[in-house]
Every structure is written in C-alpha cells, then in structure tokens.
C-alpha cells in the first residue's frame, strides 16, 4: 500500500518578507481591507491565526441587512446597510440567496411602532412596503395567524464562509497573500512607528519577522490584545450574541419582528436550516462563548411569536459570536461621529502619536466593504498612494470554486443522480456529493475537515455529521491513502459538532447525539484517544 506525504501549507514564511500593508485578522473586515488594498495595487499580506471566518464573521446569523432594522434607532447605519446591500448583491452574488425579508407585528410587539418605523424607512430611503398579512401568510404558511401587520424589505441570506472564500480568491487573484494558521506574536516599534511584525506559523512553530509600512489591526474582539503588542490602548466592550439553528427550513423569507432592535428578533433561512438570532450579553473575553440554557430558551420563545409551530421542531445546534464595540468613555481621539456609525477606524498616529498602525473596530458584516474602503483610504493617505477604491464595481472572483445555495444544490444532485451512482451523495442532509468533496479536499486552503465543512456545509444539516463524518474520512483515505494529519481526523470533527449540539441537548436533539455516539463508539470503536498498539 502506498504511504504518506502530509499535505503542505499553501505558503511558507520566509524571514526576509516585507510588505506595504500587513493586515491582521481574517474576518470579513480584514479580508475586505486586503481585497480593497490589493485592487488599488498595494502589496498586501494578511495574517489569520486560525482559519477564515473563525471569529465574529463566521459566528453570524447569515442576514444581509436591508437597513430597515436600524431605520429608527440608527438612521446612518440604516442608510449604509441599504447602500451596501445593493452593492453586495451585485459583487458577491454567489454567496447571497435572495430570500427577501418581512417585518412582522405580533401581539407582543408595540402597536404604534410599525407606523413610526415605516415613516423612518421612507425618510431614509430604505425600501419597505406594507402588504396584507394574508398575503404574507400565502407566501409563508408557517407564519402565525395572530400577526397584525406585515412589511416587505430587501433582506437577503448571506453565507459568511462563502463570502470569506470569495474574498480570499479575489485577494489572491489581485496579487495579495493570505496566511492562515499564523499568529502575530509581536508588533515591533521603532520609537513612534510600528515597522514590523513577528509571526509564528502555528502548524510548524516556525517564527519570522516581516516588515510592513502600515499594519492594520482588524482582529475584531481581539483588537485590544493586538494593539497591546505595540503598547497601544483600545477601550472596547464585548457583547456575546447567541444563535440557534433549527433542524428544518419551514420558511424561505427572512423574518424580522417589527419592534426596536432586541433579543431574538430575527429568523434567517440558511441552507437547509433556519437560524434564530440573537441575544446580547456583556462578556470579558473573546473566547467567552459558553451558552446558557436561558439564552436558548429566550430565542425559541421569541421566535414562537412569529412561527407558532417552532416547538414541534428540533433545535439543531447553538453557537455564539462576540460583537466588539468601541467604548465611548475615555475615547482616545476617536470622534463621536464615527461611534454612531457602528464602526470606528482608529488612526493611532492621531490618537496615540504612533504611526504605521491603524485599528478597525466594530461594524456589521453587511457594511464590511464600506469599512474596508474607508480604512484603505486612510492607508493610502498615509502611504501617499493615490488610487481610488474599486470594490464597488469589481465582482468578487469565484475562482475555480463552486458555490451552492440550496436550490442549486438540489438541482445539481437531481440532474446528477440520473447518471452517477446514488452512493455519490456523501451528506444527504446538505446534498454534498463525492465530486464536490473531492474538489474541496484538493483545495490547499482546506487544512482540516472543519474547513471542508464550512466550504460545503458538510455535516451542518439535521444529522450533524452522524453519517458523513465516516464517509468523508473514508473518502479521504481512498483518494490519498496516506495517513492524513491529525487535523483531518474524524475526532476533532465529531467533537466540534457535539460542542454545538450541547446547548440544545434535549428531546430529539439529544437522541440524535446519542445515536451518533452509539454509531461511532459501539459500532466503530472510536475512543477519545487514538489507539496506540
């Protein structure tokens, strides 16, 4: 039998590297900045400590805002969302499903709010149109019969993992470089200027120093820690938002409660599931992601006002993301105007007298492009590089990657099944085929099964990898019969699924968890530790 060659990482660090712009953080913000800067002809390197979308961007509900949510509370954010919604629909089409959205008044929502909200939408140019409740219920029969009013808005469902993939492709085709699983361990200051960064390859332990003319700190909830590496302070508060996915997709439109922004006010159809969002709890640490039972209970109870049959459905899993918010008190030179906009670009040259570093904090996934544009404008100003932003009209590149929303996937499998072996469907829940999986395994960025899961939605459906973990692992051995690195192992994949199922571990979900446990442990003999003869 042939034996191993471990898969190589896509890039190898060298000590002599230097760049014009070095971006720390591979969330939507960092990737957006890297893309924008690459398009403007700057030399760009992005460093991400784990994988793309592992922080706040990936721990997201999937809603591309129409802006209507903020029409009353924050008109500027609302207008920005509305503009960016239109731009993203054209430049990032492969990762967006045009579900449309409803705002719905339930008996639990304030009676006078809808009129106030509708006039705010009109005032700020955010499309919103009232429709008879019966008409909304014709489109979405699962809606509560007790709704009093319904409005149609331009919401859409956006897969942030697919967005990250599109951004990486586009950064690379524009000449930028993305290093995954690399951590910035130091920011080197030469008096009042950050001149270089120290980087460690977390897979090999290799360390290198890289010169940079401008460092952009786009590390979301880790921004304070990153800034500290250069002895800079960023006052931030962190808010944990919990989301719950249900094991079916009873609706195909995004549903918003027509009330002021609050806990549990949206339901988003994503792939084969719906996502209930969100709560907001202050936390101390970016890794503080533990979900309390009351948070899950609250999300289910709130969603029930819109979808009364929700209790009959099975909760699939829950996760939490951390919203980084710039603290308004002891603001170091940031201006209050930018605070209202939900994101802040801190020019440390102005605020701390330290040049060569810019921090970007806060913001919404919907407005990531605009934040990137503003940040790169500042970078260009500092570098005296006079190039206009191109991201408004440049389509994100799919590369040789395929993107599937549910309808496309179903189409593909139904046309394929006439020709191919039926056993070619690896994950029945998400309709992932053998061919797609082989393609994904070939992608050098997919360094572990978890990356492949995000890429294909493998194991994200109702059985939570109960069947496809074995199939993927088996297929991996078939196409490269060498011992795969531990990260490809079936254990971390199963553990990760289990972690997300635990907060909803009761009733049928717990039965599903027990079922997988029985299969993998009693039938397949898997144990915590790998067997050593």
């Amino acid at each position: 039998m042939p034996l191993p060659t471990p898969r190589s990482t896509p890039f190898t660090l060298r000590n002599s590297l230097s760049t014009e712009v070095l971006i720390i953080g591979g969330g939507a913000t960092g990737l957006g900045i890297a893309w924008d800067a690459s398009l403007r002809g700057l030399k760009v390197i992005l460093i991400e400590q784990s994988d793309v979308g592992q922080g706040t961007s990936g721990r997201y509900h999937g809603l591309l805002h129409s802006g209507a949510r903020y029409a009353v509370s924050d008109p500027q954010t609302a207008r920005e969302c509305a503009q960016e919604n239109i731009i993203l629909r054209s430049i990032a089409a492969p990762c967006i499903e045009d579900t449309g959205g409803y705002f719905l008044s339930t008996p639990a929502d304030p009676l006078e709010y809808p009129d106030r909200w509708l006039s705010a939408c009109q005032q700020h140019g955010i499309p919103a149109e009232e429709l008879p409740v019966e008409r909304a219920r014709e489109f979405e029969p699962a809606l509560s019969p007790r709704l009093s009013r319904a409005f149609q808005v331009n919401d859409a469902s956006l897969d942030s993992f697919d967005l990250a993939q599109l951004l990486i492709n586009s950064i690379r085709s524009a000449g930028g470089q993305v290093y995954l699983h690399h951590r910035v361990t130091g920011l080197i200051r030469d008096a009042n200027r950050v001149t270089a960064v120290e980087i460690e390859d977390l897979r090999t332990g290799y360390q290198a120093k890289m010169g940079a003319e401008v460092v952009v700190n786009a590390t979301g909830p880790w921004a304070t820690r990153t800034a500290k590496l250069a002895q800079l302070e960023i006052p931030m508060t962190l808010g944990k938002g919990t989301m719950v996915a249900m094991a079916s997709r009873p609706i195909h439109t995004i549903l918003n409660r027509c009330n002021p922004p609050s806990d549990g006010d949206i339901i988003v159809p994503v792939g084969t599931v719906i996502v209930l969002g969100t709560t907001n709890e202050p936390v101390q640490d970016p890794t503080d992601l533990k979900i309390e039972p009351w948070e899950v209970d609250l999300l289910l109870a709130e969603a029930e006002f819109i979808l009364p049959d929700l209790r009959q459905m099975r909760a699939l899993r829950a996760w939490a993301g951390i919203r980084p918010l710039y603290s308004s008190n002891n603001t170091p030179g940031g201006d209050s105007r930018s605070l209202a906009r939900g994101h802040v670009i801190v020019d440390h040259e102005q605020s701390d007298g330290c040049s060569g570093i810019i921090s970007v904090i806060g913001g919404k996934l919907t407005t990531f492009r605009m934040m990137a544009e503003q940040t790169v404008d500042l970078v260009c100003k500092r570098l005296e590089h006079n190039m206009p932003c191109k991201t408004r009209e440049t389509l994100l590149s799919s590369g040789n990657h395929s993107y599937f929303q549910l309808p496309g996937k179903l189409d593909q499998t139904s046309s394929q099944s006439m020709l191919a072996e039926p056993s070619d469907v690896i994950c029945e829940c998400e309709q992932v085929t053998r061919e797609q999986l082989i393609h994904a395994l070939d992608d050098p960025d997919n360094l572990d099964l978890d990356a492949i899961r995000r890429d294909l939605r493998l194991g994200m459906g109702p059985c939570q990898a109960g069947y496809c973990a074995l199939r993927t692992f088996g297929l991996l051995c078939e196409i490269s019969p060498e011992p795969a690195p531990a990260a490809y192992g079936i254990r971390p994949f199963l553990m990760e699924r289990w972690r997300g199922q635990r907060p909803v571990g009761w009733g049928h979900s717990l039965r599903q968890m027990e079922f997988s446990r029985r299969l993998y442990q009693e039938l397949l003999g898997m144990t915590q530790e790998e067997y050593k003869p």
């Binding site: 039998m1 199939r471 011992p483 289990w498 993998y520």
Partner: protein
C-alpha cells in the same frame, strides 16, 4: 399468568422468550424497531477489565451489582442456548475481553463475539486481505486497511470484488447484500464471479453481509467454493449481525406463540382495584384506536434516551412517559452532557431506579408497584456505551426481571380475585 413486555430491543425480546419458556402467556408490544438494528452482534459485558473480577466491585446503583454475577451467568447461558441451535455461536468468556476490528480499523472490546467476527486474535495469526465490494454504502476498505495496519495488523492488500444484480436507482447496503447471499442461486453465481479475484487469498476481511437468515450456509458455501476464511466487520445501521440475532429471537417468539404487537404505543398504565399497589395493565395507542391490555405483570423494556423510554425535555425535566416513574437527574440541562462525546455522559446514566428484583423504586427507595419490572436501557446507573456493558446489562436485567415476575403466582391469583 399473563405478562406484558414493552419494547422489542434485546432485553424486551429476551424477556418475552424467557417468560414464555417459563410457562407465562406473553404479549410483547413495541412502537417500532428495537435497538438490535444498531448492534454489532457481540456481547459487551464490561470492556475495561475482566467482568468476573470487576462486577462485584461496582457501585451499588449499577444494574450488574443489583442483578449479581450468578444471574448474569444464567442469563448468558440461556441466551446462548437459544442462539446455538441456529448456528449463531459465541466465543469468549467472562474472564476477559476479546478485541474486535471495526469498520474504521479501530477496535472494540467485548466478552463474546459471534463466529465470523473479526477478532484481533484470529487476525493476528496470519496476514489477511481486505475485500472491497463495489458500490457498497458506508464501507471504506482503504480506511480499514490503513488504520488496521497502523495498529499492527498484517494486511496483504485490497481485493476488488464485483457485485451482481444490485438494486438499481438506489444505494446498496450491507443488508441488501446479506439478503442476496441468502438466495442460493445468487450466492453460487456471485462466488463464481469472485473466485478468480480471490485466488491465493485464504483469509479475507469483509463487511458483515454474508447472509441474514442463513449465515451458516453462506459461510459454508463461501469456504467450500473459495477456500477462503471470511471475517466480518459490522457497518452502519441497518447492522447485519444485530439483525441476525433479531431474526432468530423473532422466530422463537413465533414458535413460543407470544403475541407480538408491532406499531403500537404504550401510552399509560391501567390501575386495578388495588390502586397504587399493582398495575392492572397498559393503555395502548394502536392504529385501530386505544386498547386496554390486561396483565398480571408488566416488564418495561422501552429503552433509554435514544429509544424514547426516557424523555428529556427543554424545561430541564426528564421523565418516563408510560408509568411516570420518578427519574433522578442533574437539575440543569446543561449538565446532562459532557464536554466530549467520548466521555461518560450524565444523561446516559439517568433512568429508572430499581431494586434487586428489577422493581422500580420511588424517590424514597420504596417499591412502586408489586408487579411492574424494568429491564435494559431504561435502567439508571450505567453509561453502557462508555462502560462497554450494553448487551450484558440487557440480558442480565431481563433475566432477573422475568425470574422475579414469574416468581409471583400468588399475587397473580390475587389480582384475578380482586377483579372477579
């Protein structure tokens, strides 16, 4: 004496047969398919060490401790004596564990493995090949070969084996192949096709698919025609070895004239005149409507969390839905599971608490109903996946429950009197 048994998993089927063999009239009611469909076909008793030494030292709440080693031995003897005549023969003993190769090339420990199972002792004797059956679902021979050789087994190589007459327009599962193997003409034709591929191969690892109802004949023909010894690894459900046991037990159920009612949901208990002390029977939801099933004794073998014998709810409560038996459990539902799926799980140890006679106890440790008994997965006190104790507990507790239930002829007479 009429005994009603709820549940058609290993413990329910076994309890029904035992009771019938002891002269009781038995009605077995089951909502769906029992847990044998998930079984590897072996008997796990205590995976981490020798059961005969470990069991006496268990905590008093563990079902084995309540049942005792003699009852376990008696249960195993009777179980094996039921399967033996059908050619389902176990090897192994209570003094230690066998190591059996699985479909991921990992190992599972069990006290008794059926003939034809891929025990590591046998596999170590000489090199063997791995059969790759074309198009078979959930079977990855490369994975098995790779992991098993990493674990020190000597593998000669893979042998591609074609499939004939496979069902069209859908996947082919091990159960399909097993059913095809049961057909004599198909079997001979397939073995003729395989013969040239297996020249020089004397030991072959295959997915468990060599016959469902006639595995003995299939194995014989296999050896006769190919001169090759086959070792089987069970695949994902429907798991053929578990179903072989189920087929044999169901045949015995017919033979013993046990009334077997499938597709009916036991929804509650019927109280008799001695209300609160004894159970008069079961309320059943059948496709024909609600029915009452009178019984002198009820054996509850409705399973644990997976099979619905124990229900876990969002409001942090855990209940036994038929008799509303009290269930002690961690109060906060976030404490029901452990951080890793490979750890011991608190929810799995939750269940009905019983005494030495398998009679359910109330929260103060008193017998709830004189003629109600519980067996199998519904019992508290053990995480059977983690312990590697599933079948041993199923068999021993079913045995003990039947012993106790059939030991109460006087009580049965009393019931009849009170009804008259």
């Amino acid at each position: 004496m009429h005994i009603a048994v709820v549940g058609a998993g290993l413990s329910g089927l076994f309890a029904s047969i035992l009771a019938a063999r002891r002269g009781a009239h038995v009605t077995l009611v089951a909502e769906g398919h029992g847990g044998l469909i998930l079984s590897h076909g072996g008997i796990e008793i205590w995976a981490s060490s020798s059961p005969s030494r470990a069991l006496p030292r268990l905590r008093p709440t563990n079902p084995y401790k309540l049942v005792g080693l003699p009852a376990l031995r008696a249960a195993l003897d009777e179980f094996r004596s039921l399967l033996d005549p059908h050619g389902y023969i176990f090897t192994g003993s209570l003094s230690g564990n066998l190591t059996v190769l699985t479909a991921t090339g990992e190992f599972r420990k069990m006290c008794f493995a059926p003939n034809g199972a891929a025990t590591v002792d046998q596999l170590r004797e000489k090199p063997f090949s791995v059969g790759a059956i074309a198009g078979l679902r959930d079977y990855y021979p490369t994975l098995i070969a790779h992991r098993a050789s990493a674990h020190g087994l000597n593998i000669q190589g893979l042998v591609e084996l074609p499939m004939i007459d496979r069902p069209t327009q859908r996947e082919i599962y091990a159960l399909d192949v097993a059913r095809l193997f049961d057909r004599e003409t198909w079997r001979h034709e397939l073995l003729r096709t395989w013969k040239p591929k297996l020249s020089g191969v004397t030991r072959l690892l295959l997915p468990a698919c060599l016959g469902l109802n006639y595995p003995i004949q299939v194995r014989e023909d296999f050896f006769q025609e190919l001169g090759c010894l086959a070792f089987e690894v069970p695949l994902f459900p429907p798991s053929v070895p578990g179903l072989r046991i189920e087929q044999i037990l169901k045949a015995l159920i017919l033979e013993l004239e046990i009334t077997y009612v499938e597709g009916c949901h036991a929804s509650g208990r019927i109280d008799g005149s001695s209300r609160g002390k004894r159970v008069a029977g079961l309320a059943l939801m059948t496709s024909g409507g609600m029915r009452q099933l009178d019984a002198d004794a009820v054996i509850l073998a409705s399973g644990g969390v997976l099979h619905g014998g124990i229900e876990t709810l969002q409001d942090h409560s855990i209940r036994e839905p038929i008799f509303q038996l009290p269930i002690a459990h961690p109060e906060d539902r976030s404490l029901w599971t452990s951080e890793s799926p490979f750890d011991q799980q608190p929810y799995s140890q939750v269940g009905v608490r019983v005494n030495e006679d398998m009679r359910p106890l109330d929260s103060r440790g008193r017998v709830m109903f004189e003629n109600l008994f519980a067996a199998g997965g519904i019992l508290s006190g053990s995480d059977r996946t983690h312990e590697g104790s599933r079948q041993g507990i199923d068999l021993a507790t079913a045995y003990r429950a039947v012993e106790a239930a059939t030991e109460m002829p006087l009580a049965a007479a009393e019931t009849k009197r009170s009804r008259g």
